[in-house]
Amino acid sequence: MNKMILYKEWLKTRWPLLGMAAVMVAFTFYSLLNLAKVVEFRGADILWSTLVFKETVLIEQLKYLPALAGAVLSVAQFLPEMTRKRLKLTLHLPYPQGKMIALMALYGMAAVTLLSLLQALVIGIVLGRWIVSELVVRVLVTAAVWYLAGWATYLWMAAICLEPTWRMRIVLLLILAGLVWLLFLSGIPEAYNDFLPWLVLYVLCGAVLLYHGVARFKEGLQD
């Protein structure tokens, strides 16, 4: 049964997922190619000095991609469930409802995480050819908050999709907008290091909202 639940989620999301993977590959490739050109013409020293003396991590063009991936994936997964109230079919399956929602969310989180990890891996490997590992870590730790934004948009957009009333959807959307604004507020490298764990916790608490939306759906709340 678990396998079939994941199969259903795959059927819904395969094309958006592959599309987002292609977009992330293209942007990452473009960004790293630009850096490669800089290295070719001016040497790797320029990367070192930029990273050490300037408030940049060289790959800022990629920062919104994980958030976009999270949003696209959650809409691809949960909007079909709410269209014509298909969630009734899902909740009617002879499978514990709480576990069903958890499995669906885990699938999405895993997909977003996989995209993020692959991108981080490629960035780490390529940058590692030009700069020392300490600076690679600096880049990736700075990027961690962007990947967290991917989780945030995934969970909160899923909660917005599962919420049956527009009024509450707007409330959730405003909260998500605030959260995303906070996650991208500072562009200073490693600015979020100290309170990243709390941000992770806050983002993951968004998973509770999925259950809240389903509970409201089951009560029959509507506009």
Partner: protein, 238 residues
């Protein structure tokens, strides 16, 4: 034997609008019960309450002895549900949806499903979203029959179907239910379909149940009238 469905003192309001008050009815095992009523009398509301998708203002319903808001997965396995409009996972093909559902129902009858699908004349990989209303209804019917459930709950099963598909649906459903001793609880706005299908009718009006009676004895009380005529007689023309 305990009734399959029991609703007691069911009351529901949508805001300031009362749907019904102190509704009581039971559905016995092996019966095909039709819930009739004009638009807005609470037929779909009743289905939603029974399936746990709507919390009533007060009152309770039980299916197979379980409170409907907390039906266990093992009991849900015994209930086949058809949503209004034959809503299904339309991004799946007929093969994909059979593969999906069969994993959840140990008594899955593959032949019952594909027996109907052979009549569809669609490509195996064709998405349900690209099928006509009638074809989608056949897929929905096939899935219901294949589940081999003890109780079938169908909300407005004839919605959007032409007479040919409606007849196919009714014939299949009745033959299947009677042969297998299944209990069926259904709503339809096309009364003439129900005449040959149901054993028992519940006629709702705004706020209450007008009649809950064996279909044959109801029709015997109104000789010469069809079920549709009796319905209009009971509920008024408009």
């Amino acid at each position: 034997m305990e009734p399959v469905i029991t609703c007691e003192h069911l009351t529901h309001w949508f805001g300031a609008r009362k749907i019904y008050e102190d509704l009581n009815f039971q559905v016995q095992s092996g019966h095909i019960v039709g819930l009739l009523g004009k638009n807005g009398t609470g037929k779909t509301t009743t289905i939603n309450i029974l399936m746990g998708y709507l919390k009533p203002t007060s009152g309770s319903c039980r299916i197979f002895g379980e409170e409907v808001q907390r039906i266990s997965p093992s009991t849900r396995e015994r209930i086949a549900l058809l949503l209004e409009g034959h809503v299904q996972y339309s991004y799946m093909s007929i093969d994909q949806i059979e593969k999906f559902y069969s994993a959840f129902y140990p008594k899955w009858n593959r032949d019952a499903y594909y027996g109907l699908m052979e009549k569809l004349k669609v490509a195996p990989g064709q998405k349900i979203s690209r099928m006509s209303n009638g074809q989608r209804s056949q897929v929905a019917l096939g899935l219901i029959l294949a589940q081999n459930a003890d109780l079938l709950v169908l909300d407005d099963f004839s919605l959007g179907l032409d007479p040919g598909y409606r007849r196919l649906f009714c014939e299949y459903l009745r033959d299947y239910a009677k042969a297998e001793g299944k209990t069926v609880f259904l709503t339809s706005h096309i009364i003439q379909d129900l005449e040959k299908l149901v054993d028992e009718v519940i006629v709702m009006d705004y706020g209450s149940i007008l009649v809950q009676e064996d279909a044959a004895s109801l029709m015997a009380r109104y000789p010469g009238l069809t079920l549709e005529d009796i319905f209009i007689e009971l509920t008024g023309k408009y």
